[in-house]
């Protein structure tokens, strides 16, 4: 979708009285959609899923981008305190059950937000994973909501061109070799020869946190 197409779609949701929100992990490539949204309507709430496990650099970058794009960023924190997120060995869940960890810190908090909106503007791209490639631009989601995927047909080159055109800032960890940045315990700086998808949940079959598999109606 082009900027004009995205703008037109957002405006039509607005005219239809739909309540919209977006979510962002504030990685460099996520900034393209945030920037587009800020050009159309910077009052749209931007939920940052603050799992508590982010790199301090990510939090600082979030604040920087929020200010630069004048975004309406809202910190979304888990309901379940970390001391209730231990396994039978007394360790935090990311050490033994990352799916459960993602559920408590990402999916469950987002599930609550989804209930109070009509449209979730979501920046997934088809070229990111097989799960995402199977998605549609508009897709039904729980609680009678709609997921709108404006970036679905964007590829890395288009992202790069937009970043360059608008001189978008870069996540500070990128220059240190991180290519995909999520929660610190499950993010790995790539060694030579590693593939991009191995930057997250390295060693596991897990490729999605649950936001795009559980909070979607197939």
């Amino acid at each position: 979708m082009t900027f004009e197409e995205i703008k037109s779609r957002l405006n039509s949701y607005k005219e239809a009285g739909k309540l919209m929100f977006t979510s962002s992990s504030f990685q460099s490539h996520s900034l393209v959609m945030l920037h587009i949204i800020s050009r159309v309507d910077n009052t749209i709430p931007v939920y940052f899923i603050n799992t508590g496990y982010h790199f301090p650099e990510t939090i600082q970058f979030r604040d920087h981008v929020t200010e630069a794009f004048k975004l309406n960023t809202i910190d979304l924190k888990p309901e379940v305190p970390k001391h209730m997120q231990m396994d039978s060995e007394g360790r935090l869940l990311f050490t033994s059950d990352p799916d459960h960890c993602c559920y408590l810190n990402k999916t469950q908090p987002m599930d609550g937000i989804l209930r109070s909106f009509d449209v979730w503007i979501n920046g997934v791209r088809a070229d990111q994973s097989a799960v995402r490639a199977a998605m549609k631009v508009e897709q039904p989601a729980p609680y009678n909501t709609v997921r709108f995927h404006p970036m679905l047909d964007w590829n890395s080159k288009m992202i790069w061109q937009y970043q360059k055109e608008f001189n978008l800032p870069k996540h500070p960890l990128e220059e240190k070799g991180y290519v995909s940045i999520g929660c610190e315990p499950c993010t790995r700086r790539l060694d030579p020869g590693m593939q991009e998808r191995e930057a997250r949940w390295y060693g596991l079959k897990k490729v999605e946190c649950g936001l795009h598999t559980e909070l979607v109606t197939k």
């Binding site: 301090p56 305190p81 970390k82 001391h83």
Partner: protein, 306 residues
């Protein structure tokens, strides 16, 4: 002024609460501690001046819900809670991470949502790793133990507060000296106990390793005085002196001449860390004249009941 001390029932907390309770500007002191050690010294010894200001909450650093509640009317936070083991801080990396890194992150998030205006974090000079040359605040951290790594990672979260709150990170030397909440696992305290009661000290390594130290009363004084001092927020070393382990033994030998000392692994040259005392900081925080070590050790021994 209302104050919260995480790890308030610990060694440093016990010293700090005594100073703060005596300060008229302080209206309330909340000790937040999970009593993991368990150390009950801060609760004992009869009513202290300012006792009515002090409250205790048994709580976890990773309990964001509880933290939010106790931070409600707090102006100043002292973050002393930590997972510490001495002498070997390399048993289970995840446990140090859990408390010292992620626990600190949780506290920082809770503070960001509160009206706290001053945040003081007790870090460790261990973040510098090894150094024969005295390091200062400009030296690059290179932590070696799991404990020190987790403390440095905690610092990274605390640093996020620096442009929002008055934020202080104090990299403290090894703490020693008597108070009711004292620990006997750290080197000087352990030596003094063994020298007095067993007349035989156990020494790790060849004894030539030196470490940076600060007396418990000095740490407590420094931390309490942050409230009144014109010291600006930042990262500071809090250290009074560097001593070789074997020199501590020598001083004790002079006080208790029939004492022996035994080396359990003198083939080992253990790592060494010297830290340059920051005279400006020590002066601004009113640490006063440094007493001779032997005098401090004598005072320490005199606190024992026999």
């Amino acid at each position: 002024m209302n104050i919260l001390i995480t790890g308030g029932a610990g060694y440093i907390g016990t010293g700090l609460v005594a100073k703060l309770a005596a300060d008229d500007a302080v209206k309330k002191i909340v000790l937040y501690d999970n009593l993991s050690r368990p150390n009950y010294g801060v609760f004992l010894g009869g009513r202290r001046p300012g006792a009515e200001k002090i409250r205790f909450y048994k709580g976890e650093l990773l309990d964001s819900r509880h933290l939010k509640m106790v931070l409600k009317d707090i102006d100043v936070v002292y973050h002393l809670a930590a997972k510490v083991t001495t002498p070997f801080a390399n048993a289970d990396a995840h446990l140090y991470e859990q408390v010292n890194h992620w626990g600190t992150a949780e506290l920082v998030y809770a503070v960001e949502e509160s009206n706290v205006r001053k945040f003081i974090y007790a870090s460790s000079s261990g973040v510098y790793g090894d150094s024969n040359e005295a390091v200062d605040e400009l030296s690059l951290p290179a932590p070696k133990s799991f404990y020190a790594i987790s403390k440095l990672r905690g610092e990274e979260h605390v640093k996020r507060l620096m442009n929002k709150r008055d934020t202080y990170i104090f990299r403290c030397g090894n703490v020693y000296g008597y108070n009711r909440g004292m620990r006997f696992d750290a080197v000087i305290n352990k030596f003094v106990f063994e020298a007095n009661f067993q007349k035989r000290i156990t020494v790790h390594g060849n004894g030539n390793q030196s470490r940076a130290f600060i007396h418990i009363d000095s740490v407590a004084t420094a931390l309490a005085n942050v409230l009144k001092s014109d010291l600006k927020g930042g990262v500071y070393n809090l250290v009074e002196r560097n001593i070789k382990v074997i020199d501590i033994v020598d001083e004790l030998k002079q006080l208790i001449p029939d004492m022996e000392f035994i080396f359990i692994n003198q083939h080992l040259t253990l790592h060494e860390l010297n830290v340059k005392p920051n005279e400006t900081v020590n002066q601004k925080l009113n640490l006063g004249e440094l007493k001779p070590l032997q005098e401090e050790l004598r005072e320490f021994i005199n606190r024992f009941s026999f």
